[in-house]
Subunit: 110 residues, 2 copies
């Protein structure tokens, strides 16, 4: 599918935005993403994103037992993460404006 290419980078920003709404953990993020329209998303896609975000210092991690399964890793955004998210939103907006301009332009006289 060509779809996977369109998700590049977008996913990372979305994950950060979800965590920014309140401390949460991987599995919950996954269901939230699939509910929001990212339907085919696999665990093998999400968890590396979380690892990456943590490694970049954009989110921090806290472990806590789950009543239903293995240990959960709760994430929350750091200051750097909040700043990054803001700049991400701006980049995303700018690019989508450009793309919309081109994609939605009618076939004019040229």
């Amino acid at each position: 599918m060509e779809e996977s290419q369109l998700l590049r980078g977008v996913l990372e920003g979305c994950v950060l935005a979800i965590i920014a709404r309140g401390e949460t953990y991987g599995y919950e993020i996954l269901t939230e993403l699939t509910d929001s329209g990212f339907e085919g998303l696999m665990e093998g896609t999400l968890y590396p994103i979380l690892t990456r975000l943590e490694k970049k210092g954009l989110i921090s991690c806290r472990k806590e037992k789950s009543p239903y399964g293995p240990i959960r890793k709760y994430f929350s955004v750091t200051e750097a993460g909040a700043a990054y998210l803001a700049s991400f939103r701006e980049s995303y907006r700018r690019i989508s404006v450009s793309a919309d301009t081109i994609l939605n332009r009618e076939a004019e006289s040229k």
Copy 2:
């Protein structure tokens, strides 16, 4: 830059959309893209896209002399290309709706 990741796949669709407006060639597409907001775009990025689109049979190519420089390769979309463009627009819209939902959601009670 993280920007380059956000361009993934988007560029290919935009290039196709530009060609769909009327037969054109690489260098002109490049200036059109940079004018539309894709400012840092390099030739080494665009031309491989054109090669790929042609190899997939989404565009066809015709050579013609330029009054100002080397030979130009004029491209136009094929039937398959038009169909692909339509499905691309739909994919793009669906994904950007999902992303907007997440990115523009206020920090609610959760």
